[in-house]
């Protein structure tokens, strides 16, 4: 097995308009979906109570509802899980009282033999979590732009952030389509992807910068395009290998890791694919377009000054 793209004629730059169009379409679709269907917010974000039950026998929705009815509660939804449906998730809109929670713990401990997991959240806490996550992404972006501007130049930083927001938005879109529950681990996954996306983009940019330093004179778009394409081809094997290995880990978590981190693993998987795509097709290409414009502007200015 060997990826060697060194002598191949792959031309990423030629198709850049298609990539931009594709991503723009995705963003528009995502915006429409998010404003209409929206996200399936878990109780981490909306006031509510989630109860996770484990039984030694196979469960049915009716059985779970009956058990709750016997202590005077009616769940708003019941979901079965596990290989033999031995687990169940019951959720309630609104926070159960402490007496109810204790009743649930006593009841299911007695009838199923295992303590249930119970989590409750009030709306304030949920809203704060979402707000904090939003701030996290914004502040991380600002920090990264500053770092990249110092180490590279401003245009690299801005292009990297566009790619990063693209990836985060892509995960949101997929979660809107699949209507999978958005919970606290989901936020962790989005933030991880922010880290991964930036990591991936920086590696590519690093190579572009290095190749730029070998060039004697960059005259215009054509020269820049050649450098960008060369850099993408050179880092391609690394990009594929890295994303593959992390995908192995994320996929293993998704398939074997159990309910608790399923959302996390799925969001991660989606984000990894988006992150690699955006590093190759969006970030570097955006930089190319912007850089060539600023080159032209400079040349125009120099010409004016000389005149």
């Amino acid at each position: 097995m060997n990826f060697n793209f060194g002598n191949s004629n792959l031309d990423f730059v030629k198709h850049r308009k298609k990539f931009f169009l594709f991503s723009s379409l995705l963003v528009i679709i995502g915006a429409i979906l998010l404003s209409t269907i929206g996200l399936n917010l878990g109780i981490d974000f909306e006031s509510g109570t989630k109860i996770e039950l484990l039984s030694s026998e196979t469960l049915t929705t009716d059985r779970v509802n009956e058990e709750f009815a016997s202590i005077g509660l009616t769940p708003d939804s019941v979901l079965l899980a596990g290989d033999r449906s031995e687990m169940a998730y019951a959720s309630f809109i609104g926070v159960l009282s402490q007496e109810d929670i204790i009743a649930v713990q006593r009841h299911f401990h007695a009838s199923f033999g295992a303590e249930p997991n119970i989590s409750t959240v009030t709306p304030t806490v949920g809203r704060e979590l979402a707000r904090n996550a939003f701030y996290s992404v914004i502040f991380a972006s600002i920090g990264i732009v500053i770092y990249v501007t110092i180490r590279f130049e401003l245009l690299y930083g801005v292009a990297a952030i566009v790619a990063l927001l693209h990836d985060a938005f892509f995960i949101l879109t997929v979660f809107s389509i699949t209507q999978m529950e958005v919970n606290l681990p989901f936020i962790a996954a989005v933030l991880t992807i922010v880290g991964y996306s930036i990591n991936d983009t920086i590696v590519t940019f690093d190579r572009i910068r290095e190749n730029m330093s070998y060039e004697k004179k960059i005259r215009g778009f054509e020269d820049l395009a050649r450098v960008v394409n060369k850099s993408l081809v050179q880092t391609l094997a690394r990009s594929i290998n890295t994303v593959l290995t992390v995908v192995f880990a994320a996929a293993a978590l998704l398939l074997f890791g159990g309910e608790a981190i399923r959302t996390f693993a799925f969001a991660l998987l989606v984000g990894l694919v988006a992150g690699t795509y955006s590093s190759l097709f969006i970030a570097a290409q955006l930089w190319l377009v912007w850089k060539s414009k600023s080159l032209e502007k400079n040349r125009f200015k120099t010409a004016e000054n000389e005149a």
Binding site: M1, N2, N4, G6, L54, Q98, Q105, A114, E115, N117, I118, S119, T120, V121, T122, V125, L129, N132, Y135, S136, F139, A140, G143, I144, Y147, V148, P185, A188, L191, T192, V194, G195, I198, N199, D200, I202, V203, D206, E210, T235, A237, R238, N241, T242, T245, V246, F248, A249, A250, A251, A252, L253, F256, G257, G258, A260, I261, F264, A265, L268
Partner: protein, 429 residues
């Protein structure tokens, strides 16, 4: 001329590392503290409200509330509870691995505001007049359990009993504004909100008071415990709670660790197939990396949670990336026709700044996560930062050291296939 000494040094180092890991890994694994999502337990986030109108919630009040909560947890006997102030008016309590979650929950949030009032609900004495630690269970002649409490001042109690002489002194637990003795006394005894209402026939100049009620032994013991633990100076409102049954926690842990093993095994396999000899080095350094992260985690006294395990596994991905960047560079250099030794040198040098930039930006993102995140996200962020720093040490310097020994031994000279480079790909210089 192959320098066998270098190769011997390589095997010596690997043997030493393997020995270290093999002899201590079990202890390290055992010492790791598991979060409550992995061993069961529960967590509550309280918002602190003033107990009396006009009270101010400041640092001082929050600290004394934490002290009171800790005392209560001592009553239940939980090892290593975690009670922390969060923000300006929040307190988070985490109790991992406790047997009786219900009892703990009741004990924690019971405000335990004992008050003595007259029949018109006027406050005569409250929890602050009780002597700390002075409550215990006593028994009546008929073996009915009662609770004996000690007051701070005998003369104060004399004053109070003088005022209510000929009437009743009502003993309330958690009296709330609007509660009325006159209403409660009409209800059947089991539904009354006050504990007892003894008649006062004489002025009592004593510090010893017995609360007579129809308690079961357990109720009496609970009341005495709560009183001894000290009354909370504030009201606590539950904002968020999460309780995990022990069996479910254990199941989640088993599944995640199993998934982790599969993920890591796949990564190892891929590295071996793709990078051949360098893959072996990667597997050695990655294994040591996982061990080292766990050791550092123990040093930090950190608690391993589900997201933590996920971050650890992802950290493997990050460490792999550092290896991949370096190895790809070395392959690039080999393809240009450089000798193994100079390809190794140039590849290592050139990959360093890339890895550095990529890791620093990720650490930046993780730091922001830590700053804004709640506890679970913070645990994840810490794990991510530790992972990145450790991966930097093992994947960059560990790899370089081990691979360097082989390269410098010259045993690998003119064997590009061992690095995954075909002879046909090498361009003539």
């Amino acid at each position: 001329m192959v320098k066998k000494g270098r190769i011997a040094a390589f095997f010596l180092i690997v043997a030493l590392l393997a020995g270290l890991v093999a002899t201590t890994v079990m202890d390290v694994a055992k010492e790791i503290k598991l979060g409550l999502d992995l061993q069961g337990g529960f967590e509550v986030l309280y918002e602190v409200h003033p107990a009396h109108e006009g009270d101010v919630i400041d640092d001082e009040v929050l600290k004394s509330t934490v002290t009171a909560l800790n005392q209560r947890i001592n009553v239940i006997g939980v090892s290593e509870p975690n009670v922390a102030i969060e923000g300006e008016n929040r307190i988070r309590v985490q109790l991992a691995g406790i047997e009786d979650q219900q009892a703990a929950r009741e004990l924690l949030s019971t405000e335990a505001q004992l008050s003595f009032r007259d029949v018109n609900d006027n406050l005569m004495l409250d929890g602050a007049d009780l002597k700390q630690g002075g409550a215990n269970v006593t028994f009546s002649e008929t073996n009915q359990p009662w609770v004996a409490v000690t007051l701070n001042s005998a003369s104060q109690f004399a004053d109070v009993t003088r005022q209510v002489l000929g009437s009743q002194l009502v003993i309330w637990m958690d009296y709330e504004e609007g509660d009325s003795f006159m209403e409660e006394v009409l209800k059947p005894e089991s539904e009354r909100k006050f504990i007892s209402a003894p008649s006062v026939d004489e002025v009592l100049n004593t510090t010893n008071v017995v609360i007579r009620g129809t308690f079961t032994l357990e109720e009496a013991q609970f009341l005495a415990d709560v009183l001894n633990a000290g009354s909370l100076p504030v009201k606590l409102e539950e904002m968020y709670s999460n309780s995990v049954g022990a069996a479910l926690g254990e199941k989640a842990m088993e599944m995640t660790i199993y998934a982790g093993f599969i993920g890591v095994a796949l990564i190892f396999l891929y590295m071996l197939i793709y990078y051949r000899f360098m893959g072996i080095i990667a597997v050695i350094t990655l294994s040591f990396y996982i061990y080292l992260v766990l050791v550092i985690f123990n040093w930090m006294n950190a608690v391993l949670t589900l997201p933590g395990i996920a971050a650890l596994i992802l950290g493997v991905g990050m460490a792999v990336d550092a290896n991949i960047i370096t190895y790809e560079r070395i392959k690039d250099e080999l393809r240009t026709g450089k000798t193994t030794m100079s390809a190794f040198k140039a590849g290592s040098r050139r990959s360093l700044s890339t890895i550095l930039d990529a890791n620093i930006t990720t650490i930046l993102a993780a730091s922001v996560l830590f700053y804004f995140g709640t506890m679970a996200v913070q645990g994840f962020a810490v794990m991510l930062i530790v992972s990145i720093l450790t991966s930097f040490l093992t994947a960059v310097y560990g790899s370089r050291l081990l691979l360097g020994l082989w390269v410098n031994s010259r045993a690998l000279n003119k064997k590009p296939r061992l690095f995954g480079v075909k002879e046909s790909e090498i361009s003539e210089l």
